[in-house]
């Protein structure tokens, strides 16, 4: 009951912020439109929809970090969280209440991206469902990053870290917008040590139906998701203890 009430509040707060809708849905759709238009006017296969759609889906998840981080940081800085910490809500209620509403949002965001991808020829088949499912560990990872950032940073800092830094890191080091082999060397090694390129590779493999490639990449993403989420829970519980 308590967790449900808190999760419902998280859901409403995020969906009623027009900036969240603009960044969460609008920006990925603009990217799809722009990149597909570029692809239509160049002779090489740079942003083919089979690669672009899973890429935009993974990149779009970085905005979940911004949503969750901003909400938690604003709750902290406005004393709202002080009020909630004095209530019978437990740390489990808080973590679930901040996290669970974002998972269906992640799935909705992915589904909308896929629906628009159909316009540019993305095949309508069961692989779409697989793609949505494969993105769940990456969703947990990005929500965890937001929870961690919101627990330790102010809302302005979250805006800078999750809104600018994270989106850039996940863009540059994911291989979504260019082939990492073009740079290679240390840059590629760093990228493959981080989870973003693995989230993209898993999504790309799901879209192509290459099932045997998905799992090794998901293990990377899942391990990072677990580690980041554990750190986020620790940081949040530390805040709760005053």
């Amino acid at each position: 009951m308590r967790m449900r009430a808190f999760a419902l509040r998280t859901w409403k707060e995020i969906l009623r912020d027009p900036l969240n809708i603009a960044f969460g849905l609008g920006f990925p759709l603009v990217l799809l439109l722009l990149m597909s238009t570029i692809q239509a006017n160049i002779p090489i296969a740079l942003f083919e929809i089979g690669r672009l759609a899973p890429g935009v889906m993974v990149f779009g998840l970085s905005f979940l970090s911004l949503f969750s981080g901003m909400l938690i940081a604003k709750d902290r800085t406005s004393s709202f969280l002080t009020r909630l910490f004095a209530s019978p809500l437990t740390s489990r209620d808080f973590i679930a209440g901040y996290t669970l509403p974002l998972l269906p949002m992640a799935v909705m965001q992915g589904a909308v991206c896929l629906a628009f991808s159909l316009i540019w020829g993305f095949p309508l088949n069961a692989k779409m469902l697989l793609l949505l499912a494969v993105n769940i560990p990456a969703s947990v990872l990005f929500i965890g990053i937001g929870l961690l950032a919101g627990s330790v940073l102010t809302d302005k800092q979250v805006g800078a870290v999750c809104g600018a830094l994270l989106t850039n890191i996940s863009a540059w080091l994911s291989g979504i917008w260019f082939d990492l082999n073009l740079i290679g060397g240390a840059f590629k090694k760093i990228a493959y040590a981080l989870p973003f390129v693995h989230a993209f590779e898993a999504a790309k493999a799901a879209a192509a139906g290459n099932l045997d490639i998905i799992l090794p990449h998901l293990v990377w993403v899942g391990a990072y998701a677990l580690a980041v989420f554990a750190m986020a829970v620790f940081a949040f519980q530390k805040k709760m203890r005053g």
Partner: protein, 244 residues
């Protein structure tokens, strides 16, 4: 019967003692004001009593539950209106109230009923469907206090409830607070002497983490041989410990 009893309550940080060996009691159904200059330890005391931060030493019984042994028991019986207005900005007035009732365990239908009662009691009925972020400062503060009361707490902590409000909004809020007397034990912190004098049954004056004196406004003036409560406060805030 006492709503709060503290014993040697202390809070120490690395190089500073914020609250030092606080022992006092608050009678049930009364309004107890904690006064002190900035850094006197008022907010830290409230944070310890509402289980927001653990004490370094000592304990307190709040509504019969130990803040050390049964913090969940304490949390179920109290509510807090923090210093800054603490409302969910994108939720309507009604949704804010239903939300708080929900996290204190009310079923949705019961929460809606309680919300309607609170909106009527605090003059918020016309604002039911307005988002909290669109309300004036005074109305947000009324909503914040209504949110603190919707769980029907035995003890209500009001941390600087009228800070930043204009004189009309402040007087309106005083009326709402006065109505609580007898039903709810209220612990109020404030910087406004006239507020403490007008609303409180008992006043505790804190300085440098210690409780310097406890009594009614008249008793504290008599103790310090001053003709105004403000003079009594100034005399006590820097004086040696005194008991009335």
């Amino acid at each position: 019967m006492n709503a709060i009893e503290t014993t040697g309550l202390s809070k120490r940080y690395k190089n500073k003692t914020a609250v030092d060996n606080l022992t006092f009691a608050v009678e049930k159904g009364t309004l107890f004001a904690l006064l002190g200059v900035n850094g006197a330890g008022k907010t830290t005391t409230i944070k310890m009593l509402s289980c927001l931060t653990p004490p370094s030493a000592g304990d307190a019984l709040v509504a019969g539950c130990s803040i050390l042994g049964d913090p969940q028991g304490v949390k179920a019986k109290i509510n807090v209106s923090p210093q800054e207005t603490a409302v969910a900005p994108n939720l309507t007035v009604k949704e804010n109230l239903v939300f708080i009732a929900g996290i204190y365990g009310s079923a949705p239908a019961e929460a809606k009923k309680k919300a309607a009662e609170m909106m009527a009691a605090f003059g918020l009925a016309k604002e039911t469907e307005n988002k909290a972020k669109t309300l004036s400062g005074g109305t947000q503060r009324r909503l914040s206090i209504a949110m603190a009361l919707i769980s029907r707490p035995e003890i209500l902590f009001l941390d600087e409830p009228t800070l930043g409000l204009d004189v009309l909004a402040r007087r309106e809020l005083w009326k709402a607070i006065e109505k609580l007397k007898g039903e709810v034990t209220v612990i109020l912190t404030t910087h406004y002497m006239e507020e403490a004098e007008a609303l409180s049954d008992t006043i505790g004056i804190m300085s440098e983490g210690r409780l310097k004196a406890v009594g009614t406004a008249a008793q504290l003036m008599k103790l310090t041989r001053t003709s105004s409560f403000e003079d009594a406060f100034i005399a006590l805030a820097g004086e040696a410990e005194a008991e009335v």
